[in-house]
């Protein structure tokens, strides 16, 4: 590691700003957290476009089963979509890779990678991450992982197709399905690289938040974004290694004849020698990551939302302390609820009832957060930037998707709706939509910080309203499908006349999905066009309090040209009585006798 990146607490870094940079060290193997943030964002967006296109392809099949679409044949060729009709194996592969990309590549690396990298150092007043080198490695492992995942789409037997949860034996045995051959091997390689990236990133974020806060930046003066990103990193560091263990044992079962997950299997006319393994072991290991993982996705989203709502309603976030405690409670509980994914897997029903209890407890801190957001808006002075529109949309989807979680957490009810479209609707709304909306909000809000230019608001408004309406349009009707018993991951429902009543619902879902997907073009256009042609951003466009808006618009190494700013107050002094403006920078000293919410 080069010496100039081991930023300690000393504040004299003048010499670094004159550091000569080559093309490679500035644009490719950059150690600068702002550049790495942009790298994560753009890579995440590329993966998201792939994931979204896949969803459009399989939605066409679901809405219009067996009908011919030129677009399917165009993307998938004669092998996987002969005559424009999707092949059932490719359907499963698309569903699998769509899930993997959206959960991991977009909403874990894309979301945390972008905003933890951008906001942690800037909002806590650090010159960079604790280790710029590890940070760079974190991105490049992610990049490698993305490349392998995309390559897996092109192998002859097709990409992994056992669902994004890759339950063995299905994922372990190439005899069980085509996708469990080379495609699955590449999936495991890609995820292993991904885990390395997540760990390097996570450790860095934790160390940075703990050690590199500027003077005066006590923990209770941290913006909620930093709190959320910090706990996200803690969750990642504690749970990703378990997924790695699960993946490693799966690699052994697949390649070296071990029997961790396999037992008593007769397949392809052959009795396999493995006995004594348990497929449930994989599920336990997988969901021990898998459940914290959904909070790894939603916590940063909640953090971004807190900041955006507070800034744009010109009001302090309501109940800061309760918000922090909720984040902690959610983070803690997220480790003891994984079994709610396994109520009907044959796990001991008594253990199931324990998981019912712990899972439903999560509803309490989640409810507190939702109520606090709503109260923050109360008596606000709301300025409608595209950012706050998305943040409000996020609060709505978080509630809508969250309440159905109560039904799924109730094991007695889960018996009947487990693995149906009710689940699809639930997690897409509460986790997918919420996190995607918050991420959009974050991009609109911090674009001036990322690229020094403003995005176009008009296009932002159009983008929000189409996206928001389509998002609900796609997923809300799926609750009804699920209650009627329509299983997820079915290539077509036409083998079951009892599901005929829902053909129309599925078609509407597809239409909304196509329109919603096309509307993302507005965002992509706005994003890339603004990057080069956007209006130049002022230093603090949204009149926000946090430290990132005290740095110069042009990115420099070390973030602040002179000394690191000193913090004197909590980050939410908006519309404080007796102040000339409706915002007070965190660097503004307290007046005599002035109280500070962040002091305790």
């Amino acid at each position: 590691m080069s010496a100039h990146h081991s930023h300690s607490t000393d504040h004299s870094h003048e010499d670094h700003h004159h550091h000569e940079e080559t093309f490679i060290s500035k644009w490719v193997f950059s150690h600068d957290h702002k550049m790495i943030s942009k790298q994560f964002l753009v890579t995440g967006m590329v993966m998201a476009v792939i994931g979204m296109m896949m969803s459009v392809l399989f939605r066409l099949q679901l809405g219009y089963p067996g009908e011919s679409f030129k677009i399917l044949n165009f993307f998938l060729g004669d092998k996987w979509a002969p005559g424009g009709v999707l092949n059932p194996d490719m359907y499963l592969a698309l569903v699998t890779i769509h899930g993997t990309i959206m959960v991991f590549f977009l909403l874990t690396a894309g979301l945390s990678g972008t905003f933890a990298n951008l906001l942690i150092p800037l909002q806590i007043g650090a010159r960079d991450m604790a280790s710029g080198f590890l940070n760079m490695l974190s991105y490049w492992f992610f990049f490698g992982s993305s490349v392998v995942m995309v390559l897996s789409l092109f192998v002859e037997s097709g990409p992994a197709a056992a669902g994004w949860t890759v339950y063995p034996p299905l994922s372990a045995l190439p005899q069980a399905m085509q996708g469990s051959g080379m495609g699955m091997t590449l999936w495991l390689v890609s995820m292993s690289l991904f885990i390395v990236s997540a760990l390097l990133g996570g450790l860095n974020y934790i160390v940075t938040v703990i050690n590199l806060r500027t003077k005066g930046m006590t923990m209770m003066r941290l913006p909620l974004t930093v709190w959320a990103l910090f706990f996200t990193a803690v969750l990642g560091v504690l749970s990703f290694p378990v997924l790695f263990a699960a993946a490693l044992l799966l690699i052994f079962d697949r390649g070296f004849g071990t029997a961790f997950y396999l037992s008593d299997i007769f397949i392809g006319g052959q009795a396999l020698p493995q006995t004594g393994g348990s497929p449930l072991l994989f599920q336990h290991l997988f969901w021990f990551l898998g459940h914290p993982e959904v909070y790894i996705i939603i916590l940063p989203a909640l953090g971004l939302t807190s900041e955006i709502i507070s800034v744009n309603s010109r009001k302090p976030i309501f109940g800061y302390r309760a918000m922090v405690l909720s984040i902690m409670a959610i983070a803690f509980l997220s480790f003891i609820v994984w079994g709610h994914h396994m109520f009907i897997t044959g796990m001991n029903p008594f253990i199931g009832s324990v998981f019912v209890f712990t899972t439903l407890l999560i509803a309490i801190p989640s409810a507190v957060k939702a109520f606090n957001y709503i109260t923050t808006l109360w008596k606000g002075n709301i300025r409608y930037t595209p950012g706050i529109l998305f943040a409000m949309g996020m609060v709505s989807t978080f509630i809508t998707g969250g309440v159905t979680g109560i039904i799924l957490a109730d094991s007695a009810l889960d018996i009947n709706i487990h693995d149906t479209y009710f689940v699809v609707a639930h997690f897409h709304i509460v986790m997918g939509l919420s996190a995607v909306l918050a991420m959009f909000g974050g991009v609109y809000h911090w674009f001036p910080k990322l690229y020094g230019r403003m995005m176009n608001n008009k296009l932002g408004y159009i983008h929000f309203w189409i996206t928001f309406v389509c998002a609900y349009g796609v997923f809300f009707p799926q609750h009804f499908l699920g209650l009627a018993g329509v299983p997820r991951r079915y290539y077509t429902n036409s083998e079951f006349p009892m599901f005929d009543s829902f053909i129309e619902l599925n078609q509407w879902s597809t239409i909304f999905a196509v329109v919603g997907a096309v509307a993302q073009g507005i965002f992509l256009f706005n994003f890339f066009y603004s990057m080069y042609r956007g209006q130049k951003a002022p230093q603090n466009p949204w009149k926000a309090n946090t430290l990132e808006w005290t740095t110069p618009v042009e990115h420099i190494h070390g973030n602040w040209p002179g000394k690191i700013p000193v913090v004197h107050r909590w980050p939410y002094d908006y519309s404080k009585p007796g102040k000339p403006d409706d915002f007070v920078l965190q660097t503004t000293p307290l007046e005599e006798g002035e109280g500070d919410e962040g002091k305790h």
Binding site: P88, T385, L413, K458, Y472
Partner: protein, 357 residues
């Protein structure tokens, strides 16, 4: 359909062109800075928030009314009524929460839009309010948890009554087999090494309990008002035995047995006469006739609900709930699995030695 695709593509092209125009036009109006949101934009978006709320609620109401008698198939098992009651109870609670929070969220969004001279309140916290909305959810959730676990216990943590009919459901890619325990009501021992073309469940001829076992495919029958204990096994990968009408589901896992028991309370014949089912199938069949498809008749179903491979979407078996008499007639017409078939493939020598040790 091609028309639809072309339309989408054309719209997309128009949109991009329009976007560039909108962008350039609004950039030309440099007197208006992006970071300064105009009063007009605030008003439009705040109003749209209100419009959205009304549209969203109408959309939900429409779906609830339209699909009122379709979304949950009628329950046909004893515990199904209890779970349906619990489901409705939970739905009422979450609907109340959903409606109230959404009204607050969107009406605040509308009401507190930025206006000239308006100032936001400096309201940082209120221990009283926060306590209220921590304690109330906690109480409601306690009720939900207690009722939920009680119902769960009643279904899953009870042993099947002694006189239950024992049926094994055996899954493999991509079909189901049912095995009845026969007169002794005990299933014969199996071993996956013995699986062969004829002995596809791997029955062990050394176990006499298997001598009266009956194996059926395509559909299986159960008598009404008698407890049935299902013992589930899987040959290759994980499947899930999902019987939505009976509110029953459990995974079938290679290497272990899983169990589920319930008591059916409505026969297939009765259910076919249920007015809701009659109406639903009349609609379904009207549509099917117009598409030249075969007419469908109501049946209880067992379907696979865990991704299991290519034909996962079509792994089903009909369940017929008979009156006791009809069930006995059907059962006696089924042939007992022949012992000779069991001996078709012997146990591999190496495993015999291992067993002796």
């Amino acid at each position: 359909m091609t028309f639809f695709i072309i339309l989408v593509i054309i719209l997309a092209i128009i949109t991009v062109a329009q976007m560039a125009r909108v962008y350039e036009l609004s950039s030309e109006l440099r007197n208006k800075k992006e970071e300064e949101i105009s009063a007009r934009d605030n008003k439009i978006n705040a109003t749209l928030m209100m419009v959205f709320l009304i549209a969203f609620f109408s959309f939900i109401t429409y779906y609830i009314v339209e699909y009122w008698d379709k979304w949950l198939p009628p329950s046909a098992s004893e515990h199904g009524n209890a779970t349906d009651w619990l489901l409705n109870f939970n739905f009422i609670i979450i609907l109340i929460v959903f409606v109230i929070t959404h009204i607050f969220l969107f009406s605040f969004a509308f009401k507190y839009q930025r206006r000239k001279g308006q100032e936001a309140a400096y309201f940082t916290h209120s221990n009283k309010l926060e306590l209220i909305w921590t304690v109330i959810p906690a109480i409601v959730l306690t009720v939900i948890i207690i009722l939920g676990i009680k119902t769960w216990k009643g279904i899953m943590m009870t042993t099947a009554p002694e006189d239950s009919i024992v049926i094994e459901l055996y899954s493999k890619q991509f079909d189901w087999t049912a095995r009845y325990a026969g007169k002794d009501n005990a299933l014969g021992h199996t071993n996956y090494h013995l699986i062969s073309g004829a002995n596809f469940l791997g029955l062990d001829s050394a176990d006499s309990k298997g001598n009266d076992d009956i194996i059926v495919k395509g559909e299986f029958h159960i008598p009404v008002n008698k407890p049935v204990k299902f013992v589930m096994r899987s040959q290759d990968v994980i499947h899930s035995a999902y019987m939505p009408h009976f509110r029953a589901q459990i995974n079938t896992v290679p290497g272990m047995t899983t169990m589920f028991h319930f008591t059916p309370i409505i026969t297939t014949e009765e259910m076919r006469k249920n007015p809701r089912v009659v109406k639903e199938y009349a609609e379904i069949n009207a549509a099917r006739r117009s598409q030249g498809k075969e007419e469908a008749i109501f049946n209880y179903l067992l379907l696979c609900n865990k991704i299991c491979g290519t034909s996962h979407y079509n792994m089903q078996m009909d369940i017929i709930v008979d009156s006791e008499a009809d069930y006995q007639t059907w059962l006696s017409s089924q042939a007992v699995f022949q012992k000779e078939k069991m001996a078709e493939k012997p146990m591999p020598e190496i495993l015999k030695i291992a067993e002796k040790k």
